[in-house]
C-alpha cells in the first residue's frame, strides 16, 4: 500500500502491527458484519498517520475486501493518508495528534453510563505524548475511575525530528502515568503473549484506567527500516519493497 501510493509513515505502522494483530484477533469485541453495534468495544487510533496498518488490519478482519486497499491514497478514495471514519470499522478520524484520548474517554464514560460493558482502547504514539490535551485526559481518567479504558503507547522511541529522548524526553515515563493514578503495564510490544495478557486484563480490577507502555521498534521486521528515523517519511523503492517483503515473510 505504502509503496504503491508512494506514501509515508511505514516505520510507525510496523512498530504497532503486533499490537493491532492481538487487539483485532484476541481482544476487541467488534463485528465486521455489524460494525456499529452499540455494545461493541471501541478502538481509537490516535496516531492517525499510521493508517496503512489500520486499514490493512480491518481488511484482514473482513470489514472490507483486501482488494479495496489498492485505493489507499488514490484520487477520490475514502482511504485517506490519515485515518478516516468513512472506512468501515474506523471509529474516528484523527491525524492531528492529541485528539484520540479525550474522545476515547468520552466513549468510556458513555459506555459505563449505559452499562453495556464496552471497553475502549486508544493507541497513542510516543511523540504524541508531547501534546497537552493528552495530559488533560491522563489527569481526568483516573479521577473518574474509568477502568473500562485502556491506553496503549506505541513507544518506539523515535518521533518526527529525532529520538524522543532528544526532542522532548518522556522519562521517567511509567512513573509519570503511575503518579497520575493509572494501572501501568510495561511490556515488549512485539511479545504477542504479553500483549494478550495485559490487554485481556481490561477492565482492570484495580478500578483504574490501564496504560500499556509497549516498547516497540520503529520499522519492526525490516532490517533496513528498524530504528531509522527516515522511515517515518520514505516510501520504499521496488527493490527495497521486495527485500522488505522477503524479510517479513509476506
Amino acid at each position: 500500500m505504502v509503496h504503491a501510493a508512494k506514501a509515508s509513515h511505514i516505520g510507525g505502522c510496523l512498530s504497532m502491527a503486533d499490537i493491532l494483530a492481538v487487539l483485532y484477533t484476541r481482544i476487541l469485541r467488534v463485528d465486521p458484519v455489524d460494525p456499529q453495534a452499540p455494545s461493541r468495544d471501541r478502538f481509537v487510533l490516535s496516531k492517525g498517520h499510521a493508517t496503512a496498518i489500520m486499514y490493512a488490519t480491518l481488511a484482514e478482519c473482513g470489514f472490507f475486501s483486501l482488494a479495496e486497499l489498492d485505493a489507499y491514497c488514490r484520487d477520490g478514495s475514502i482511504f485517506t493518508g490519515h485515518v478516516s471514519h468513512a472506512v468501515p470499522g474506523v471509529e474516528v478520524s484523527t491525524g492531528s495528534l492529541g485528539h484520540g484520548l479525550p474522545i476515547a474517554i468520552g466513549m468510556a464514560l458513555a459506555a459505563r453510563n449505559a452499562g453495556a460493558g464496552s471497553r475502549v482502547f486508544c493507541l497513542l504514539s510516543d511523540g504524541e505524548c508531547d501534546e497537552g490535551s493528552n495530559w488533560e485526559g491522563i489527569l481526568f481518567a483516573p479521577h473518574h475511575k474509568l477502568s473500562n479504558l485502556c491506553v496503549i503507547v506505541d513507544f518506539n522511541k523515535i518521533q518526527s525530528f529525532g529520538s524522543v529522548a532528544e526532542v522532548l524526553n518522556l522519562d521517567p515515563f511509567a512513573e509519570k502515568w503511575k503518579a497520575f493514578g493509572w494501572q501501568v503495564e510495561e511490556i515488549d510490544g512485539h511479545d504477542l503473549t504479553a500483549l494478550e495478557r495485559v490487554l485481556g486484563g481490561v477492565p482492570a480490577i484495580s478500578g483504574r484506567p490501564t496504560v500499556v507502555i509497549a516498547h516497540t521498534v520503529k520499522g519492526k521486521g525490516v532490517s533496513f527500516m528498524e530504528n531509522k528515523l527516515e522511515w517515518h517519511y520514505r516510501s520504499p523503492s521496488d527493490e527495497l519493497l521486495a527485500q522488505a517483503l522477503a524479510e517479513v515473510g509476506a
Binding site: 484523527t94 479525550p102 468520552g106 458513555a110
Partner: protein, 307 residues
Amino acid sequence: MRTTFIESLSQAASENPDIWLLCGDLGYSVLEPFAAKFPDRYLNVGVAEQNMAGIAAGIALSGKTVFIYSIGNFPTLRCLEQLRNDVCYHGADVKVVAVGAGYAYGSQGYTHHALEDAGIMSMLPGIEVFVPCDPMEVRAATRLIAGSGKPSYLRLSRQGEPDLGATVTDLRKPRVLRDGRDVVILASGPIASRALEAAGALAGRGRDVGVVSVSCLKPLDEVAIRDAVRGASLIVTLEEHILRGGLFSLMAGVFAGDAVRPPIAGIGIPEQGGKTSQAGSREALLDLAGLSAEAIVARIEQSLSKR
C-alpha cells in the same frame, strides 16, 4: 440569559434522557440546578477545554446529545481544532454554549471579551450558529438545538437582559422587533436593545426605522432576510462583535451579487489591534466602542445623508 438557558436545558433534559451537560469548571451559581436534577448526565471536567470538547465528541458518538458550557473564548477558540475535527467533521451532536458574548464580562478585560467567536464558529463546516437577543430567543434556541441532532453554537450574553419583542415563532427566521421599512437595522444579540433605542430616536426625527433580530447566523435564511429588508433604502447591521466574519460580513455576502441594492452600513466593535482594553461595564465599553444609541443614530443619519 444563562439562567433562562439552564432552565430550558433542564426542561429538555427531563424529556430526553440522552442529553448531557459538561462544563469546564465555570458556571458557578448557574449550572447547579441541572447538576442536582441529572447527576448522571452532568460533569465538570475541570479547567481543560480541549479535553472537554474531545470527551463531548466521544459521548456524542456513542449516541448522546452533549452540551458543553464555559465562558466566551474558552469552549470555542481554546479547543477550536477539537470542534473542527472531533465534533464537526464527525457530525457529532455537540452543542457549544458560550456565556459572555461581546463585552458582557465588562471590566474583566480582553481575555474575557468574546469579539470574534461568532465569525470563527460560523466558519466550521456543518455547525449551526445562534446569537439570541433576549431570553425568549434563548429559550427557543435551547429547545431547537437540543433536538436538532447537529453540532451547534449558542452565544449567550450574561444576565438581566430584557425581552425585546413578541413571541418567537421560528428562530431560524429574522424576528421583527420594530416595524419600519425605510431603514432596517438587522441586529444580532442583546445589542438589539440599542437598535431599538436608536430607532425610537430616529422616529422622533421623522425617520421610518425597523429593527429585526437575526439570531440564526447559520444556516442563514436568505429568502427571509431579503423579505425583511424589502423596499429599504438603507440596511444597517449591528453586532457586539468585530465586523469581519460576523453579521455584517454575512449580510454583505447575501447582497453582494445584486445589481441594485441599498447600501449596507456595518456597525460593530473595532478590532483590538494590539491596544490594551479598558475597564468598564458592558454598557460603558459599548459606548467607548462607538455603539451608544446616540452614535448609532449619528451613523445612520450620516449614511442617509449620502443617499
